[in-house]
Symmetry: C2
Subunit: 204 residues, 2 copies
Amino acid sequence: MEKNKDAEKDIIEAARKVFITKGFSSATTRDIAKEANVNIAMVHYYYRSKENLFDIIFEEAFKTLISSILDATNSNIALFEKIELIIHNYINTLISNPYLPNFIVNEITQNPERIEKKFKDKDIYNKVFKRLSEDIENETIKGTIREINPISLFMNILSMCIFPFLAKPIFKWVFEFGESYYGELLEERKKIITEFVINAIKKC
Amino acid sequence: MEKNKDAEKDIIEAARKVFITKGFSSATTRDIAKEANVNIAMVHYYYRSKENLFDIIFEEAFKTLISSILDATNSNIALFEKIELIIHNYINTLISNPYLPNFIVNEITQNPERIEKKFKDKDIYNKVFKRLSEDIENETIKGTIREINPISLFMNILSMCIFPFLAKPIFKWVFEFGESYYGELLEERKKIITEFVINAIKKC
DNA sequence: GTCTATAGCGGGATAGAC
DNA sequence: GTCTATCCCGCTATAGAC
């Protein structure tokens, strides 16, 4: 009876692709309809407005990016292994979703209220961070690692994992890297960052 | 005779502000004209098109961001001091221009060709990096630092400097930091990153 | 549910008077 | 140089036929 049995689903998938690669303001409902092989009116029929559709995609993307850290920090292992796990999990998530960091960072910078409106449950992130924080303090007291502010360490680790994805076109250009070589480099960074961090904090 | 003696200059300044905070696609010539206290037609009279005006701002911004690294890497000092100098210079530049990283990263991601078209003199960046690269290799041979791929080290340093600016709204939200406290934190990071990097690479 | 047609707006750009 | 008026396009959104 219908050409397209699950237009609703196709639209979401198209929206994910278009919004995440182009961002809210550059993406158009026409793009999304075309990508989904659907009439423009259908987009509004199922999702009412561009804004509403965007919110669904944004929330989903944000959770993807956050939850891969949460799992790792929560696990019951020693600090160094935990650091290794965080880095591995996070880079794996980024390799599978390379456009997410740009998308999230841009949209939040353009519209910081979105974060506060949609994610009232910030406490979760805060509590999980406290878990990591305690691990760090315990090791400091034991004397196995140097004194370091947990927030600084956390920022350093995230920075080294995410930034090479954000700045990928720039690095590729400056160093004349091909796409596949850059992929290998990102893969190798799991090990490199882990070693770098452990050397930075380990007492010797 | 004229209300506004140097509209041309006012327009550039307005364009800088509007483009850098909103990005190309969200910024409008109407925004820029308003910000410059000038009629919309004047924007086209002096700069022909939105695209053309944007290119001027983009090139200027890119050079600002790059040149602060070049100066430091080129100087004739020992590796550890050079690393310290790079980090200090770079974070100072970012504190003075906090919107630049988002602007550059976004626009290049949306339109990677822009980089290649406008900046044919990529060799400069490449050569200066080789300078740093040699310094690192020399110290490795001397045995004062651990073996590390210069590109990895370079990426790590840049990541830790820039990312906290890119992700400022997210970090402020998660950790409930106020604007002024976040400013202090960024200032402190000069020292923190320097120590972190030196500990990470120094043999002991 | 699906399509066509169209309303209604905001955008970039220019013609032409002064 | 400066301003008004206007063109024309592409966008979001909806009304209404099927």
